[in-house]
């Protein structure tokens, strides 16, 4: 591990000992004792700013002076600052930790509401643009969408910094997101500094810097927090397409192989007013072949402004199994107030499920109006007619999971953007209590 020798000095404001770990890079240092900001580049260590209490002393989650191995290199925590933006009168604060490695330079860790980012400076200028009217910045082939523009104020600091830090410094921050990355521009009147952050787990940082106290748990959804379902909807929809194709193949096979054979047909004429026509009668036996399958009975009648009730009892000649079916064939039509109408049909289908094979016959009983025209009727029994209801039910079941996954993924993105400058109109003022800090 690299050994970093610290340079010592005394605070001219309170006399406390101060260690400088970043050698000549330190431009300013904040006394840990009296919180005065000192000019570290000055041999006499002039006091740049004395501490004015604007908030309670903040305690870094990672103590200053901690050393940890992060992404393969040793880093010292040398600076700590609390920054704040104010939106609608509510202060939102986050912490930034300045890390130093004499061979690697500086990098930052930021923490807000338990969400951590590992941040490095960008050497270059990202290219601005827009996608569908949304401002963007492109850096190394990655397009970042503008998330928020705000004025950030440094409200508390500790340790040393490679710039002349003053509590109260204000910069304009423009955050662009392409999860898990965050591209930020910090603008002052003199310069624009770009940095690239990557969302990282707090536990990983805690382990790297050997912090014993637990970090606060992440609350809410952060700007560049990776969507846990990112890419999942696409995988589900791809699987759905495969299953839907399989479903279509099965439907095709069914339609191509289903019997739909006519097993029995009987017809006659119903004479209204003739009592004997209402007497039950029995058909000749017929065979339902093949494995257990459905039976479709079609009743048709030349009803016209009339009705015919068809009572059918399907009887298994061998086992005595009985299936009762009562159907009505009725058809009415006319014109009311110049508008034609009709109701019913001259034909009726009924599907009987799981009817075993064997010899069957039917007991038929007809009933109809006591007056009117004769009604020609016909009853057909078909075996193994293909249907679509189960395939449709399967389709619904198959499409539910990808729809749910897609909705959950979209909900996460909605939550993310609710905190941005581009929040949907209905999501304003949401989640204020979870992310704000008070001026204590």
């Amino acid at each position: 591990m690299t050994s970093v020798q610290a340079r010592g000095l005394n605070c001219p404001n309170c006399g406390a000992a101060i260690q400088l770990r970043s050698f000549q890079f330190a431009a300013s240092v904040v006394c840990d004792s009296c919180l005065a900001t000192l000019d570290a580049s000055d041999a006499n260590v002039a006091v740049l700013q004395t501490f004015e209490k604007t908030m309670a002393r903040a305690r870094p989650l990672i103590p200053l002076g901690s050393r940890g191995t992060w992404k393969g290199d040793p880093w010292d925590v040398i600076g700590f600052q609390v920054r704040q933006i104010t939106v609608d009168g509510i202060n939102y604060r986050w912490q930034e930790y300045l890390l130093f490695n004499p061979f690697r330079g500086f990098r930052y860790l930021s923490e807000y509401d338990g969400h951590w980012n590992d941040i490095i400076a960008v050497r270059g200028i990202p290219e601005g643009g827009s996608v569908s009217g949304h401002p963007t910045a492109t850096w190394r082939d990655t397009t970042f969408k503008l998330f928020q523009t705000s004025s950030a104020t440094t409200v508390f600091a500790l340790g040393e910094f490679p710039w002349m830090l003053n509590v109260g410094d204000v910069v304009t921050v423009k955050d662009h997101v392409a999860p898990p990355f965050l591209l930020s521009a910090e603008e002052t009147d003199e310069e624009v500094t770009w940095s690239l952050g990557e969302y990282v787990s707090g536990e990983r940082i805690r382990a790297a810097f050997k912090v014993t106290e637990p970090f606060p748990s992440a609350r809410g959804t952060f700007a560049n927090q990776p969507n846990p379902l990112a890419g999942t909807p696409a995988r589900y929809w791809q699987a759905f397409v495969m299953l839907a194709v399989a479903l279509l193949v099965l439907v095709g096979l069914r339609l191509g192989t289903a019997g739909g054979r006519l097993a029995s047909a009987v017809d006659g004429v119903f004479h209204p007013g003739v009592a004997t026509d209402k007497a039950p009668f029995v058909t000749d036996p017929f065979t339902l072949a093949g494995p257990t399958s459905n039976v479709v009975i079609t009743s048709s009648a030349t009803v016209d402004g009339s009705w015919l009730f068809v009572g059918m009892t399907l009887v298994n000649d061998s086992t005595g199994q009985v299936i009762d079916v009562g159907r009505e064939v009725s058809y009415y039509h006319g014109v009311d107030e110049g508008e034609s109408w009709s109701e019913g049909s001259r034909s009726d289908d009924v599907r009987l499920g799981a009817v075993p094979a064997g010899r069957w016959f039917m007991r038929i009983e007809l009933d109809g109006p006591d007056a009117g025209r004769d009604i020609d009727w016909r009853i057909e029994v078909r075996r193994d007619q293909p249907g679509l209801i189960w395939w449709f039910a399967a389709f619904v079941l198959l499409i539910v999971p990808p729809v749910i996954v897609s909705l959950r993924s979209a909900a996460f993105e909605t939550t993310r953007w609710a905190e941005s400058d581009f929040a949907p109109a209905s999501s304003d003022d949401s989640d204020d209590s979870s992310s704000s800090d008070s001026d204590d």
Binding site: L250, W307, E328, R351, L352, G353, D367, P369, W390
Partner: protein, 61 residues
């Protein structure tokens, strides 16, 4: 791209189930099927469609 195995397994079960139900000829309806109430038709024809009662005179007697 890794496909969601759980969903694929679920889908295969659904397809097999649908195929069995279709080939075996199961229906939602019970064996005792009726699309009307025949006894009321016979006992009181013309009154079982209260919506149209009195406006159309062709429901039988």
């Amino acid at each position: 791209m890794t496909l969601p195995r759980g969903y694929l397994a679920f889908g295969v079960v659904v397809l097999i189930g649908a195929a069995v139900l279709e080939y075996r000829g199961f229906t939602f309806a019970s064996a005792q099927q009726s699309n009307g109430d025949p006894r009321s038709i016979r006992n009181n024809p013309g009154s079982y469609r209260s919506t149209y009662y009195g406006t159309r005179s062709t429901y039988g007697k």
